[in-house]
Symmetry: C2
DNA sequence: GTGAAAGCGCTAACAG
DNA sequence: CTGTTAGCGCTTTCAC
């Protein structure tokens, strides 16, 4: 049996209104009635229905988070950060994993709107026009996290071009000249940030007068396995290769693993630097040097921005978070 | 602007009731009005409020999931499985991470109850009496996932004793005699399953006439770092150690990592077998042999059970899922 | 086939 | 200080 405000009211010999008042600390009642009401609430184990409240208040204290998957460490770190600030601010989060699937994403958007979420965070997805239209139309305060967009929606991202440039430059400064890159494919998530990373790589090369050849880059997916196959392609394609920059750490770790199986020593034979600095980096063998994009920070920032939008009801300004290379043991000085 | 059923009704020159009927495919209207209503809905981009619906229907199509953290692979795999079946069955999931914190857990339980979730899954937490009391009192259909409990709540788990026995026996059959175990501490999550795992380890040893000494087991936490420190303790405590069984894969991977730093070769110098068979196992170096507890399957099973409880309104029977050892390259035959 | 009206549990004026 | 009343957006009898 779950009680209603009416049950409490009757039992305390007051009106619903009074119960509501003490429930919300609004004042306008005597200490005595307050005590009585609280007592009855305790006694009954009464908890107000957030559903009913939501109906009147137009505020559900629930936010939605759309992620492409649930198993990548990156997403996991995002979720962690978001959930933390949401909880601190008294909201719950509904997670939806879209599998980077357009139709599924639209369905989730509708679903979340039907549930009347207060706000939305889109993480690591490509932001399509239809999403923008929908969000715009129903007016959900939204912020994009690590998601590139051509549409005017606030976002928090890293400067991908710059980060890739930094990673590549780091390799160069360590004396490497034959450097390859393993990138994700064109359609995948984090999409849009793909180009900048590649450009950053190329720019660092050219700024340091290192010749670039298209076959220094190999395209695949964003997973461990792609790192493995990427490595194989790369060593075949570029003779004398000494270092690899991978678009993310998952790929980098895949490279580490494949290298082990192929009898290639890291960093002795080949150096690798990843990107994202996920938790795993420090636990793989050898620990993976990576460019840190401080994801938890990004996620928290995004969440805070979203709540600000909810409160103030106006758009906030996007921000780009800094990065740094975290040196571990997968890069050797030549 | 977000429209209500009334807007649709007016615009279609029918009553709310009729709109509601076509919305729910209830029949009792002409083809013509149906068409008209649908047309207006389309036109307005109307989406019914799940909040209002929830209020009348006493069904929110939202479930809650309580997990101890958000970053362990195990939890991630659970979430993944749960979200998948929930979505297939038309429900959303609110995730809450309790940090194995009793107070926080109770707060979340209350919060979720206030949100009037249809059902609840508790994953990888120790199930305390106060949780049981609360759940019982407010009557949320609940199932425990990989959580030990003395209370009559349906659960899906692995047979921890058996799995630990299997892992240990595997090591023995590979010719190992000096076997250590790294276990989590007493109070942590997955708690309750800790004892069975230790007992399984001991039983396998004694069944194969291998002497057991208390210092063959070292206790710590459940993370990478604990594996590292565990290894150091173990090699000091038991001379001639050739193999280690770790209570979970995270610990096992920590051992791998620490071994690398200490110049200990796996599996040449020392063999290690983990438990859980998380995704990471196959990507670390060397790939970690592990006892598979098929978590996604467990999660899906748990979710299905929960929905069954919601539908049928009666408790379902618990189940214990099988396991198997997944051979990779971290164990050597002596 | 369709509409009117009551009610889900709560909050927010508006009166006293 | 406290109660009455009118919604919030939807579903569901019960009539017509």
């Amino acid at each position: 049996m779950t009680y209603t405000i009416m049950d409490v009211a009757k039992r305390a010999n007051v009106s619903k209104a009074t119960v509501s008042r003490v429930l919300n600390d609004q004042g306008g009642y005597s200490e005595k009635t307050k005590r009585k009401v609280l007592e009855v609430i305790q006694e009954l184990g009464y908890h107000p229905s957030a559903i009913a409240r939501g109906l009147t208040n137009k505020r559900t204290h629930t936010i939605g988070v759309l992620v492409p998957n649930l198993t990548s460490s990156l997403v996991t770190e995002f979720l962690n950060g978001i959930e933390a600030v949401a909880h601190k601010l008294g909201s719950s989060v509904i997670v939806c994993h879209t599998e980077s699937h357009g139709i599924k994403t639209m369905m989730y958007l509708q679903l979340l709107h039907e549930k009347r979420i207060d706000g939305l965070i889109l993480a690591g997805t490509i932001f399509r026009e239809e999403y923008y239209d929908y969000i715009q139309r129903v007016g959900i305060p939204t912020v994009l996290l690590s998601t590139y967009s051509e549409y005017p929606v606030p976002h928090v991202t890293a400067d991908d071009h710059d980060a890739a440039y930094t990673a590549t430059k780091y390799l160069i400064q360590k004396g490497h000249k034959k450097i390859g890159m393993i990138s994700g494919n064109k359609e995948e998530w984090i999409a849009g940030s793909r180009l900048p990373r590649i450009e950053g790589f190329k720019d660092a090369l050219s700024d340091h007068k290192i010749a670039f050849n298209e076959n220094h880059i190999v395209y695949g997916g964003f997973s461990f396995d792609d790192g493995a196959t990427g490595l194989k392609h790369l060593i075949r394609q570029v003779p004398g290769l000494t270092a690899i920059f991978t678009e993310n750490d998952e790929i980098g770790i895949g490279v580490l693993s494949a290298a082990y199986h192929l009898g290639i020593k890291v960093p002795k034979d080949i150096s690798v630097i990843g990107m994202d600095n996920i938790n795993l980096c420090k636990v793989v063998t050898p620990p993976l040097t990576s460019v840190s994009l401080s994801h938890s920070e990004m996620a928290e920032k995004a969440a805070n921005m979203m709540f600000e939008m909810i409160e103030s009801n106006k758009v906030v300004t996007s921000c780009i978070l800094p990065h740094e290379v975290v040196e571990r043991q997968s890069v050797r000085t030549l």
